[in-house]
Symmetry: D3
Subunit: 243 residues, 6 copies
């Protein structure tokens, strides 16, 4: 089976890191097809960046869909453009944020999220409320580590994230932690060992859910908001995205 | 005062109609500066269209902000790109969806929304939940009238919308109705007269709220998710949108 | 247009202060008609005071309505008697509490309220839940300053309120603050400057919303709980209030 | 023990009916002290009537409290003035609305309310939300029978209420019904027999809860919104109510 | 009237203590029939213990029901097996957890729970959400005192519980406290005196509610989830429990 | 990997059917170890049956856990005993109800559940609320088909379930359907074809989620309610279940 993992920002090294994380968890028979858009921001930190990441990301989704992807993963913890992607892709689409929340819900009654910057707390809270899982989340915390600072292992970032996990256990009654950035994928195992609780990386979580959906033969329903977009004219650089 | 009203789709006749509706309600001293993006879809019906309308719309916001707009109104009932616009604009930003919900809440304990197509029901429900006003909304109904069919007055569209209002009063205990599309702005008065209840047009509602915010000297808080975007590189057609 | 602002307590100096705050924000063409009931308590602090403020306040509403008021504002942050006033007034009615919450929602994802005494926290929380905006409110805080201590500027009151705002930013992730008493109207600008976030005064907020409703030609729906009261006998001092 | 039951409207025949219902359920040792205010409306139908019933009702509460009442029951289904009464009474206070909801919650997972007029639906819904029990209530229905039409048994009123109960079972999945007016107290047994489900009369429910609170030695907490009102001047007919 | 109080664990001394607490509050004419199952755990601390306490407890319920119990009380704060008991008992059934929550709701706008071990916090929170009363509960706290440590008065346990009540008042704005274990029944009066707020013991609360339901002639509705179980074969030690 | 699937009722033919459904979806390398308890009811329909199914089911969980199961699936749609199983199993545990809800959330904004008997609607609603996913579920419907009637394909059962799906699409705006009984596993594909929407079978969904958790190396957190049960004495047939 063919799994398309799109990094919605334009930073190739981050795409490589995400692809590696995906391959590490994927089944032998799963081919990971990692892509990134040519247009958009180098990292996604807050609502403004999200807005410009989406069109390019949707381009990747459409292309990979035509290339025969069996499922798509959007590898940004804000689940950037997830609803639009669902409307246009034939194959099912999963965001790493929602993947993390669903998987954490299976191993804990109450989880916390540790994300990069404070500016992302509200977007993540919006998603939790939209998904219905807000009550399962004790708190969304920010380690105040910029996304690109996670590109390579660095002790300071790890310490900051670790401090937030400690606080989440002590103050929020968190039983599990979801790491709130695709760039934290390589830290999950270590943090789980240090803190003695399940630490969920959204990328890995999404890979297993996507493999599951493919196996189940399920794809996005066309009956509601994810009906195929109506044919209409798109102007400017978006002309090729015409539905 | 200078009020920027952006129609996030590329249909100029619709921009004109929205501008007329805005001017009809605006104070004498208010200048309505109506804009539309050069890039994006001709109408916004569902999540996919929204995604491609946002970048161009944000361009209008930034330009109008530099041109001295005292407030911005996003004239699409899905409040397309509202959060991103708030992060980047110096002046306050209001979506016509939220404007309609807030104003309806002042004249009714319980309101209904009548929008264009069924594909927009869930996006509007997501917004209601995000704004916290979901409990005030009895139901979001769709008249199954495409956005562009509203460009000129037509009896069939009016009848379909009217039938949904009737059903909302009878079945949903709606005390007021919010019209769920900028293109319905010219129908509010007639529908209010026919059905004997407050009918709120989001464009007009947003104009009065924007004039109010300006007068109050209030603009978007920078303390949370609407902090100014961090400087970073944006590639492709989005280069000029670099924060 | 004629805007009736009723101070539901019997303290004339507070009425004057509220009227001044209203006039400072109102449009040139708006006449502020400030009233206060002859019967009732000198200040409203908690449920018991509210109960006795309402009948006199409703008398003011009815008289001003007959005198041609285009809208009414109830200038007590508990929105004392708001529902009853809506049922009896021809013109629309706005409470300064709800006005503050709605306006704050337009400039922040998450706001805090700073009110006078702890005894008012639960009444305000009840309102937030009733309006549907509880999720937008991070926390209702009390500065433990009695209402009448706010009659004239005093440094101690300002300090206490300021300390609560500081705590709201630090501990509650508040992005904006709503001042929870009509008597704080004159402090908003200063507190906004000190703390660098939007500070909303309910009186000013209500004036702009009321002007907006008038302009929109909207008044309270008669279809639900605000239908005109049925004719019936009222005994005692309430005889003249017979519907 | 001495149980004060206040009918917040001025209709003496209704007070007598309520007193009879209370005595029918009360223990042998319980003295029912039924009162009604001298001032206020003849019946309570909606927010406006509520506002004018409260001051007189609070007078009854205070007098009965001084006369040694061990508990108070407010015998109007809207729980008119309940919060204010709690703040001022030494003895515990129970509303028949909340009593009905709590008791119904003990015999059914999901109940419906059948009240008199449509104008009372929203006030009851507000209370359900305030008490936290909204999720337990399938729906609030109105039989469109005015309060005073219930003063004497009449077949038409019974039929209308019965029709709503039938609909609640069939359409709302109601497992129990709470009768939404003190004037329906005498119909509960008959309606339960007809429809084969628990039918809760708020007056009777409140008597048993009040007897329970007395026995438990519990009264209203003074730590929060029900702290004793601060001493202050009340003008007009309310002077004697000064806290 | 005959009131069956079942202690769902197998510790006879605890049953005796619970019976004493029930008798202390019950009316003169009420006979307290206290039972405990022969099979199951010696105490209930968390979900696993609950699972094994239920079958034996249901046996007690069925036997007492046949012996003519007029109502049943399940004397474990987790309301262990309450739903199943309702389905099978002719007489009404009350859990001491729900009893505590309902009674506390009548004397405070906001209460806290102080239970034994942290492992019970989530089960209690689940119940609060199921009952609809989660919003009334400020917080569920654990004193970290094992259930059986409460068998006899001990200063250390009292101190730990007392410290949590103090914290609940100071940090959670609790106005009343519900003691979260049947074994704490004898501490309520003392803790109320120390902290000056209503302290609710679930056993006593349940006795008064049960006496009330009996008096009201109300029992569990058969229309929904509490319909009599369908006849079917039960294997193993459960054969006698066959419905 | 070794996947333990426990049918919590004692009907061996149903266990065989569930095992077949699990094997049909499981990976080649996954061994399905299907078990059923020796004690308990032949089918689970409502709260009473659940109570007696749990102890035997937990026995299966403990044995399979000792036998080296990598994950457990509880194959009853009520997720019977799920919380207790999590506390005692070393390997992660998934209920087919929650599995169905989580998977449906990935392919639809809004799903409906079609279960067997009306008596199961409230237990399922309780779970949805507990999991936080209640808002995603449009409605829980019952086809009024007893569990054991599903043992072999029968046209009548299929028709009844099909009729409910049709109603869910038409009346509830359902975009996907979750089949609310392990015994419906073999109908999913056919019903999806007939109605043109995703139909989720909980058994298959749970198999893919369990395989995912195993791959992710995640198991139940021990920090909260799922901490290992404290050692204590269990009497009667439960002695061997002593923690």
């Amino acid at each position: 089976m063919r799994l398309h993992v799109v990094n919605p920002n334009t930073t190739a090294t981050m795409t490589a890191k995400i692809a590696a994380a995906a391959r590490a968890i994927a089944r032998g028979e799963t081919v990971i097809d990692a892509r990134q858009p040519a247009m958009g921001p180098v990292s996604i930190e807050g609502f403004y960046d999200e807005a410009f990441a989406v069109p390019g990301m949707l381009g990747c989704i459409r292309e990979a869909d035509r290339d025969g992807a069996d499922a798509h993963i959007i590898a940004c913890f804000d689940d950037t453009g997830l609803d639009a992607a669902r409307a246009v892709a034939k194959a099912p689409v999963i965001g790493i944020g929602e993947a993390g929340f669903h998987i954490a819900s299976l191993v804990a009654a109450r989880f916390a999220v540790v994300t990069t910057l404070g500016v992302s707390i509200v977007p993540i809270e919006h998603n939790l409320r939209k998904y219905g899982l807000a009550e399962r989340c004790a708190r969304v915390r920010a380690a105040e580590v910029p996304v690109l600072a996670l590109e390579e292992r660095n002790a300071e970032a790890l310490d900051k994230i670790s401090a937030e996990i400690k606080a989440a256990i002590r103050d929020d009654r968190a039983e599990a932690v979801v790491l709130g950035c695709a760039g934290m994928a390589d830290l999950a195992a270590e943090l789980a060992r240090i803190h003695g609780l399940p630490v969920v990386d959204g990328v890995a979580a999404a890979v297993t859910l996507a493999e599951g959906l493919i196996r189940l033969g399920l794809s996005t329903s066309r009956l509601g908001p994810y009906a195929a977009p109506r044919a209409k004219i798109y102007s400017g650089p978006f002309a090729p995205f015409q539905p």
